[in-house]
């Protein structure tokens, strides 16, 4: 998606070097429709520059900082040297993500989607999530719930969720904890199994959380949680251990959660 307006001073933009002159380089801005900026030779790199071509090539994709925008003169001043490595990597990733999101929009609504509808949907996602990519990612993790505050039709929401679920690879975090469970009853193993099933959530764990409970060495069982972020993962881990402990405690047993694996005393 290309924006129709102008970039803001201080904003990082992605562009392709179009022309190289002795006084600087012209950059076509990939994110803005028909916009071109100039990066003066003094803003291409730090230190004395003898030849601009020693630092940049035509056709090269660069990340630049917007220094000044003069809409009446149709001029955008850029700086390449003011962008550090970290900013460059982050911006490129963001730009790639938006290109992906652009693709997903086509997958969700078809190639013949008119510009007006496209812009309306895109603007809703931008307003709610800050970027189209974040909107799709959120839809992949939380499903329809993620889009409940977005002013889109039921069909549009379904299309976004479906496409997101099929295409977005969600950045999960994984946390591990342990729960010691023991039960003195005559059918103690069944109660332990019931407790472990409860730890796994009995099928009632939210879609974005994956829980796996496995045996380590009695009475110790490992709980592994995969979730979109650490807060969610940590909460799910403790809730899982609590559910297991509650089951065994109801049958005269004991349950105890701990983060690190116990030292094997065997």
């Amino acid at each position: 998606m290309k924006y129709s307006g102008w970039p803001e001073p201080g904003e990082l933009v992605v562009g392709k070097i179009d022309e190289i002159e002795d006084f600087g380089v012209f950059v076509d801005l990939d994110e803005y429709e028909g916009k071109r900026g100039l990066c003066h030779i003094s803003e291409v790199a730090s230190g004395w520059i003898k030849n601009v071509r020693d630092h940049v090539n035509e056709g090269q994709t660069v990340v630049a900082k917007v220094l000044d925008v003069d809409e009446s003169a149709q001029q955008i001043d850029l700086s390449i040297k003011d962008v550090n490595d970290h900013q460059r990597k982050e911006k490129i990733q963001e730009w790639k993500n938006e290109q992906k999101a652009d693709n997903w929009m086509e997958l969700a609504f078809g190639e013949d989607l008119d510009d007006e509808t496209y812009a309306a949907i895109a603007n809703e996602l931008l307003a709610e999530f800050g970027s189209m990519y974040d909107g799709f990612e959120s839809a992949a993790i939380h499903g329809k719930d993620a889009l409940e505050d977005v002013d889109l039709s039921e069909e549009e929401i379904d299309a976004i969720v479906q496409t997101a679920r099929n295409n977005v690879s969600v950045p999960y975090v994984q946390v591990t904890g342990y729960v010691d469970l023991s039960c003195p009853e005559s059918d103690g193993v069944d109660i332990i199994k019931e407790a472990l099933q409860a730890a796994e959530g009995n099928g009632e764990v939210p879609d974005e959380i994956e829980l796996e409970v496995t045996y380590v060495g009695s009475p110790e069982y490992r709980i592994q949680v995969q979730a979109p972020d650490y807060k969610t993962a940590e909460d799910a881990l403790e809730e899982s251990a609590d559910r297991a402990a509650k089951v065994v405690e109801q049958h005269g047993g004991s349950g105890q959660f701990h983060r690190e694996r116990s030292e094997d005393d065997e």
Partner: protein
Amino acid sequence: MTSNKQPEVNIGLVGHVDHGKTTLVQALSGEWTDQHSEEMKRGISIRLGYADATFRRCPEAEEPEAFTVDEHCDDHDVDTDHLRTVSFVDAPGHETLMATMLSGAAIMDGAVLVISATEPVPQAQTEEHLSALDIIGIDNIVIAQNKVDLVDEERAMQNYEQIQEFVEGTVAEGAPVVPISAGQEANIDLLIEAVQSEIPTPERDPDEDARMMVARSFDINRPGTTWDDLMGGVLGGSLVGGQLDADDEIELRPGREVEEGGKTEWQPVTTTVRSLQSGGDFVDTVTPGGLLGVGTGLDPAITKGDALAGQVAGPPGSLPPVHETFTMDVDLLERIVGDDGGEVDEISTGEPLMLTIGTATTVGSVTSARDDECEVALKRPVCAASGSKIAINRRVGARWRLIGVGTLR
């Protein structure tokens, strides 16, 4: 070499450390019984090792060559006939593991005493193990003179005479001495013949209450097992009476230690039999003889690491009483068995004793000692019937030494 019928008799392999007991089990059963990591590392048996062997007979061959453990006789190209399946209890021979050997003796119907031809007779544990068999009353004995391939004929004969001299006046007097090489699997046929004639299958009463002596207990689950595949704890041991069926309810005594209202007490553990394994197969019913595995509904945390070894299992309400203290009649040996062989002093009040009753080993403190009886307070209670035999061990230097036998009042 695998067994295909339920074992009907338990035979102990006893003798000094490194005289070849475990190698002999392997020659007879095809199974290596040292499976504990520490055992593998140190090359000695630490816990009781179990393996089943099926004795067979070639219908075309003359005795003793006819006796074999192979299902097919290659010499005559015929299948061999099944005689019986036996269970071997490979007891540790190392001196510090004497208690384990004694607990194994409780489930033996007979024993093969393994004596190496390469060392003078008797070695410390050879003597101690024989005394233990004497105490527990195991008199069906075969002596395997092992490692004869490593000595010349003269040395083998000398060793044979030492054996005869050593067993004179003991339960092993008159027992056949079979020269073998377990490592080379030589004369195994002669050994089978001797076992067949000297260690008969005992008469059993199928109508009495089931009674199991628990010698081992395990957690068989492997790391990574998911909840739906989790298995209950397993008991290993021997049925000494009655019959046990899958789905039977059983009680284990003395059970487990429970803290209630600030004081600890022992409570029986009850559970159901979920599976039975005997002779390497899952079965619906087991009768005495052989070693069995009982899959239970217990939390594996209760059974892991031999935690229930020494317990007695049977139908609820049928088991003997649990004793935290008891009085026993004492019959002391004249001399301490083993290297130093000093005289056995009378038991005195206050001294600690290590006592083995059935498969249970516990330490007790003597609260009263007079003439031929003494009263003992146990650190860990035992389940035992009146008249049960008790192996009595005393601390001599750095280890426990067998000094006599007790009979529970």
